[in-house]
């Protein structure tokens, strides 16, 4: 397959805990409806934090995205089938269980056929544990840090 010519040159940035005004930076992640139970829509499933290809858990950095923009970026299914959670970057880094994970800005460059995503950021390392209880533990802790920003079953829009 021929690699498309990038139309942007978004640089990879270091991600600090706080913005210049001292506000917390966050990562937004879409949660597909399969992970939102009708009878307990407030519960954030640990299973929603997966890293299938060892590329990282895909998120958007709040410097360049809002929760709504993150939701609208989903193309696999209609955006309304997704909720969006927010994870404070400082809380991931300060958490004893999650300290082995790394947060890496990984912008997707725009091409003729792709919109691109300057906000794209990966949480890397969750699968370096392999198939072990440490992976389960990291998933549980990520879910505990996460907060709903968009969840139609909770009337959060």
């Amino acid at each position: 397959m021929v690699e498309e010519i990038p139309l942007t040159n978004w640089e990879i940035e270091e991600i600090p805990d706080l913005d210049p005004l001292g506000r917390e930076y966050a990562l937004y992640r879409c949660i597909y409806e399969t992970f939102i139970k009708e009878k307990a829509p407030d519960i954030i499933s640990p299973s929603a934090f997966q890293d299938e290809k060892y590329l990282g858990v895909s998120t958007d950095w709040s410097k360049y995205s809002t929760p709504k923009e993150t939701q609208l970026r989903e193309k696999r299914h209609p955006p309304e089938k997704y909720g969006v959670v927010s994870l404070k970057i400082r809380e991931i880094r300060e958490n004893e269980v999650l300290k082995e994970l790394s947060i890496e800005h990984s912008p997707i460059q725009k091409t003729a056929s792709r919109k691109g995503n300057c906000a794209h950021t990966d949480i890397k390392g969750i699968l370096k544990y392999g198939r072990s209880h440490k992976k389960n533990k990291a998933q549980v802790y990520l879910a505990r840090i996460a907060e709903w920003k968009i969840n139609c079953k909770l009337n959060l829009n």
């Binding site: 597909y32 399969t34 992970f35 139970k37 307990a40 519960i43 499933s45 640990p46 299973s47 929603a48 997966q50 890293d51 299938e52 290809k53 895909s58 989903e74 193309k75 696999r76 699968l127 198939r131 072990s132 209880h133 440490k134 992976k135 389960n136 533990k137 998933q139 549980v140």
Partner: protein, 245 residues
């Protein structure tokens, strides 16, 4: 796309529609004894609730029998000398649900294990198992992040695991095992998740028979359980669950 018509309960009772699906609701007749599987209904689950009513699921399939099972169901109930004008008077808060793709696997599981004879399985668990069949309809790359699809074998292993856990829990406590949430997991695994104000437990049922079940749980304080085990060796997990359920 074809519009799916969902018949009313009366239309099903009158046998006007060929319809494959199930009814859920609450039944008010304590005279109906467990176990109970109405004739021509593929399966049923009944649990006694705290207020002495019974939750009921009836799975019926008009496609295969070309008969009208619901009138037979009424006949069966009538033989129990319950005066019924129609099913509507029998089941409160009923909901008619279509059977979706893959549900035959769920019905096979119920029938193979004669679940309708089992008093130890929480109807909430059966409902969660039924809904979890949807996981099998998620093909490769269903999330756009490269996740693989799920195998029937993994679902069966998960369902059998929960059934065996429920039995042991019931023997030990004379109570139902609370249903976990069932989610699609990583690499074809299926995940189970219990979460309450007191504790959280998260398990992954492996796709490969060579892999163990992995788990992590805690009480949000220092009471932690973590590790892995072969599927039949769930004693430690069960003992831990008993502290909180």
């Amino acid at each position: 796309m074809d519009k799916i018509y969902h018949p009313t309960l009366k239309e099903i009772v009158d046998g006007k529609f060929e319809y494959k699906g199930y009814i859920t609701g609450t039944i008010d007749y304590p005279e109906i004894k467990e176990p109970y599987k109405p004739e021509n209904v593929e399966n049923s689950n009944i649990n006694l609730t705290d207020d002495n009513t019974k939750l009921i699921n009836l799975y019926f399939n008009l496609d295969s029998t070309k008969l009208t099972p619901v009138p037979k169901l009424i006949k069966k109930f009538s033989r129990k000398k319950i005066l019924l004008k129609n099913l509507q008077s029998l089941i409160r808060n009923y909901k008619i649900n279509p059977i979706k793709k893959g549900y035959n696997l769920f019905l096979d599981f119920l029938n193979l294990n004669k679940i309708y004879r089992k008093e130890y399985i929480n109807i909430e668990l059966i409902n969660e198992l039924r809904d979890s069949i949807e996981i099998l309809n998620l093909g490769d790359d269903w999330d756009g992040e490269g996740s693989q699809g799920y195998q029937k074998k993994t679902w069966k292993n998960m369902a059998n695991f929960l059934q065996e856990m429920s039995l042991k829990y019931f023997i030990d406590t004379k109570d139902y095992l609370d249903s976990p949430f069932i989610y699609p997991g990583s690499k074809g695994d299926i995940d189970l998740h219990w979460k309450s104000k007191e504790f959280e437990l998260f398990l992954s049922i492996p796709q490969s028979d060579d892999d163990p079940i992995t788990y992590y749980g805690d009480d949000y304080k220092k009471n932690v359980i973590e590790g892995s085990f072969e599927k039949d060796n769930f004693e430690e997990i069960l003992s831990w669950l008993k502290k909180f359920l």
